[in-house]
Symmetry: C2
DNA sequence: ATCATAGTCGTCTGCCTGACGATAAACAGA
DNA sequence: TCTGTTTATCGTCAGGCAGACGACTATGAT
């Protein structure tokens, strides 16, 4: 067997970009970093970087995530300890013009994380911050104010994926700490979907779906009001029947 | 602005692989081509090829599809005439070991096509054929009998995407000719899901979902029995509420 | 004429959901 | 201590949809 003739195909650079979402102060937020170099110097962008020569795509995404946030991602496709965020592949973007310097194909990944520490800037970024996605996507309309490259499009795709995926999977728990209350979970849905949900119907629904939640045994009053039972995420990953997003 | 230093990142080859699905004789089938060269010479594989230097990923997939089948794909992401099959990006596979010759990242695409012509072999393939996906995925378990590379995994992912996507979208109509009957559409669902559906409830459901089907005006008896009304796909792409796949 | 096949319309029942009312258990401030 | 506020949790009720299935219709085949 002979190796490929390197002149038979054009060389590409392959990167991973991360859409890291969390819920902070009742708003869906994404992690963005400020670009330290051209092009788009000084503009905000999604974190990301080159895939190494001997590295799988998911591993590259997990490495970038750890470098930027310290989070230990848990890719459901690969076995491992679930002591961190949810990570999954989102989509791949390869428009020939998407990077003015050369041909770059970017494999975007989606990360859902609980509201944890302040982000730490790392690598080639001057700084990093959590920004509400509404804000990031609004400014995308104004020329030269939005995210660098095609990152607004990638972010929009990631947000849409998250919005639809918490409908039919138990993934909303990835936004919560290990132990959480029904009310905290409801506020996650409300922030991601941008709607208000009836607390009574929501409570009936999630506690009645087998495998979604398992009681953790304690109670908490960290949200004020009457003490609420603590739950952990159950084993079920697919919700049947799904949570229903209210009509527009 | 300076170009990247080419030594700063490893070079990749980028390919597209196609999971082309259709329904033939009550079975979900995929298009496979026989490999004419090493590695995996003589084994069946998904059609695919290198992405050109100035070509977008979706365009590369559409080009490969046309070369292999003559089908004119319609990518919903790009405007164009819908005179052919449905095409969408599936996922990207980049395990460093997936091709023994060099580092290849493959952006897999999913195509849903009506049962049309016999496949035409093209390019570097000795031949091409439609094979039932059950058959292809069963033989994947036996060593050195399944598809080349990681194509069994890619096919499985594509089939799973199709199975879940016809639940909440009108995509099942992509398996049908431009005009079709409710019974033909039901047989598509039955073949893709591998279950039997109640004809009466199915009829009530699809004709009662606004925007799913629009009457085409005629009838046909090509399936035997009483003449059936002909329909065309309606404008709706998302079904709300969705079609429900029966429990296991 | 009879049968087999496929399509279409209805009925009934159970379950789920949305829209509430009502109660419980904490804390804050008067 | 009492009262109001906040949040959690349980219950009730009506409407809608899905599964199960009966009934009838319109073709072609024997």
């Amino acid at each position: 067997m002979s190796p490929y003739d390197p002149s038979a195909f054009p060389p590409f650079a392959v990167t991973v970009d991360l859409v890291v979402l969390t819920v902070r102060r009742h708003a869906l937020c994404a992690l963005v970093v400020r670009r330290g170099e051209q092009p788009f110097q000084g503009r905000w962008a999604l974190p990301g970087g080159f895939v190494r020569g001997d590295e799988d795509l998911g591993a590259a995404a997990a490495r970038e995530l750890a470098e930027e946030t310290g989070l230990c991602a848990h890719d459901p496709a690969a076995p491992g300890v679930d002591n961190g965020a949810h990570l999954e592949q989102l989509a791949t973007y390869g428009d020939p013009q998407r990077d003015p310097r050369m041909r770059v194909v970017s494999v975007a990944h989606l990360v859902l994380a609980p509201d944890l520490p302040a982000p730490r800037a790392g690598g080639d970024a001057n700084s990093a911050r959590w920004a509400p996605v509404d804000e990031l996507l609004e400014s995308a309309d104004q020329a030269s104010a939005g995210l660098a490259f095609d990152h607004a499009r990638i972010l929009a795709d990631g947000v849409e994926r998250a919005r639809s995926k918490i409908e039919y999977s138990s993934l909303a728990t990835a936004f919560c700490p290990p132990e959480f209350t029904v009310g905290e979970l409801r506020r996650v849905y409300e922030a991601v979907w941008g709607v208000a949900l009836d607390p009574r119907n929501f409570h009936r629904k999630v506690t009645g779906t087998p495998g979604f939640l398992v009681p953790a045994g304690g109670t908490t009053t960290r949200q004020g009001g009457r003490p609420a039972q603590l739950f952990r995420a159950g084993g079920a990953t697919l919700l049947n029947p799904p949570m229903l997003r209210p009509e527009v």
